[in-house]
Structures are given as C-alpha cells and as structure tokens.
Symmetry: C2
Subunit: 201 residues, 2 copies
DNA sequence: AAATTATTATACCATATGGTCTAGACCAGC
DNA sequence: GCTGGTCTAGACCATATGGTATAATAATTT
C-alpha cells in the first residue's frame, strides 16, 4: 500500500507542478496533468477531491517549504546592529537562494500571489499576503523607530513601494545571467543600495 | 448602412472592452461578449473575422488613443532644462491622466503587456514593448550625457530597473484611491523623487 | 420598387473542460 | 485464499468554448 501509491502521488505532484507553473490555475488543465502523470482519472480522484484540492495541496507544500527554508537560513544570521537595508539585502539573497533551490515552488508561489481572476480559496491568499504584510509592517515599523528612513515619504507610500518591490523583485532580474549566484548577490546589493539612497536617511 | 450598424458595433466594442479588461484574452468569453452586446452571433462574424480580430481591433484603438493623448500633452510641454527625473515625472503624470480619462483603454493595454501565456500576435507585443525600450534608451542616454545619474550603478542595472518600474509602475498603485487624479499626481511625484534619490546625482 | 447591406434566430460542429461511475484487475497483509 | 486498498480503462455527463451554416427578415441605398 505504500510504495506504488507513493510513486503515483509523486508523479501526480510533479506533473501538477509543471502545469501550474506554466498556466494560471484556471487555465491549467487537470486532464493534461493526469495524462502527463501517466495515471488514470480514477487514481486522481482517489487521491484528491478535485482540481482545487490538488492545487491547494501543492501550494501549501511549496509555501511550507519556503517558510522552512527562510526560517532556517535566518536563524543562522545575526541581525543585531543591522539596519533595515542590510536586513532586506539578506532577505533578498535568501529568497534568491530558495528560488534557485526550488524554482518550481518559487514560481508557483509568485504566480499564486499574482493571480487576479482567482476563484481559489481567498483565505489562503490572504494568509500568504498577510504574512508578507505582517513581516513588512514589522520591518518598516522597526526601521522608522530606528530612524533608518528619511522623512521625505509617507508611511503609506513607503510600504506600498516596499511591498511591491519585495513581491516582484525577481521579475526585474530574470535574465539568464541573473540566475548565477554571483550576479544574484550583486543584484541584491545594488538593488538594496538603490532603495537605501531612495528611502534612507 | 450607417446608424444601426454603428450602434451595433459600438455596443459590441463596449462589451468587448468590459470582458477583455476583466479576463485575460484566453479566458475572455466571446459568447459572453456577444450576449452582453445584445447582438446575434451572425452579426459578430459579419463584422469581425474571429475573436482575435476583435481583440486586436480594440487593442489598436486603445493604443492609438494612448499615443495620441500622450503626444498631444507632451507637445504642450517645454522640456528644455529639465533633467530626466522631471521628464519622467511628466510622463508618469500624463500616463496617469490618460488612465483616468480612458480607464478601460489603459487597463486593456497594461493587461496586454503583462500577458504571458499569449497566443496573440507577438509582433504587436514587440511593437508595443519596442517603442517603450526605444524611448527609455534615448532617455537614459541623454540623462547619462547630461550627468543626471550618479555613478553608483552600472548602465545595465539602471536600465533594467527603469524599464521594469516604468512598465509596471501602475501596478504598484492600483488601489481604488490611487485611481483618483489627485492621488495619481501625488504618487507620480513621490515615485520619481524616490527614483531621483536612488539614481540621481 | 429593387437591390444591397445588416441582422436575426437557430441549429450545428469539434473540441475541451472538470467531474462521475463502473467493472475489473493488481497487489499487499492477514 | 480472502479481503481491502490501490489502480486501470473507458464510457459517460453537463457545460462551455470558438466557429460555421442557413434561411428568413429587417433596414438602407440606389
């Protein structure tokens, strides 16, 4: 009951990952996933209730993997004495490393966050976005308290820019060259410097 | 041949605009457009060859309207003595005014530029993007010559950031409040200031 | 009034979608 | 050997898609 079942499920998930990282949730074809997984329709509906259940499953898997990865990396870091820009730089670098390690997971998550016409579980999206917002909120609050920011811009404006750039950072640098680790670190450094001169004191 | 035909076509275009600004090209339903336009299927295929022809038609209409609007506004401006940041601010403001004046046209164009899974005329997309690139190239070249930029960043980096932010600017500010003209102008000012401190000398 | 142009309603097509159901087969552990 | 979990293939469903065809009918121009 274990091995074969495990195989089938893994193939299913792989195929689902492929499809859902190429098309939006709605445009992704469950039939194609099943075909590419090399399983029969019955098997699919034996394991999952429907298309959405499959999607939510791999999305949660990806999300969990990301959280775990980032937390692990962040634990090793000493943030004391670092201002928001250095912390951001770290965050970009770690996110980059996750993207390099789990490109499909990363892609799935970013695609999910960008979904506009989603009939998908809105709660989950709120959770994802909420945790990012929370983190950003905390980060900017601390930065303001520490006087990391200049006072040219309103909090609202700052947060909007930060939020967008953080969620879309990797879209800016998506040329092949940008996927080399060296270039990644350089881009992260430059980018945060750019933010620093724009936002910093 | 005039009045009734004109009416029908206008209703069609209105309905198409509604649908294509809410769903992606592929997800937009031609049947719904036809139904909402209150015309029969025959009438549609009498006026347009197929779904794509309709889409390209309203897309070109929107594009033309935008170019005309921007050119007209830019003609009234005196750019002499203005650095790249003031020029950019102007550009953002004018784009914002267009977005406020023709929200559906604006939305259609940005959605088109963001389409990833497009089976749509690739040439047209290249044209749209190409003209933006050209303009940006020219702008940054001039700015470098005039010494508007600091020398913290490479040209490559500068262009990448500029290009991305310009193409996606309005995604950052897409809350309802941000669609008010006043807020738009304020956002444009703040945003360019932010760029200026980040890039400027 | 005649001819042309627009428009209608309807039926139809092939294809694809997500999802259900069934009858049987495979394969494990008891 | 039997049982229960797993898997298969295929038929089937309602629904929707973009697109075609037809025959009758309005509306407009000549």
């Amino acid at each position: 009951m274990k091995e074969k079942s495990f195989e089938r499920k893994n193939e299913l998930i792989e195929a689902a990952l492929d499809e859902f990282t190429q098309k939006s949730y709605e445009n992704a074809s469950l039939n194609k996933i099943i075909k590419n997984a090399g399983i029969s329709k019955g098997t699919f509906y034996y394991h999952f209730q429907d298309k959405q259940a499959l999607y939510l499953f791999i999305l949660k898997t990806a999300g969990g993997s990301q959280v775990e990865f980032i937390n692990k990396q962040m634990e090793e870091q000493d943030l004391k004495g670092k201002d928001i820009f250095e912390e951001l730089k770290l965050q970009f670098q770690i996110s980059g490393e996750f993207a390099a390690a789990q490109p499909k997971y990363y892609r799935l998550i970013t695609m999910f966050l960008k979904e506009k016409e989603n009939k998908i579980n809105k709660d989950l999206k709120d959770t994802f976005e909420g945790s990012t917002d929370l983190w950003l909120d905390e980060l900017t609050k601390k930065a303001m308290k520490n006087g990391d920011f200049n006072n040219r811009f309103s909090n609202d404006f700052l947060k909007k820019i930060m939020r967008y750039l953080f969620l879309n950072y990797f879209e800016i640098f998506n040329k092949e060259e940008d996927y080399e680790l060296e270039k990644m670190l350089e881009n992260a450094k430059n980018f945060v410097d750019f933010l620093k001169y724009g936002f910093g004191r």
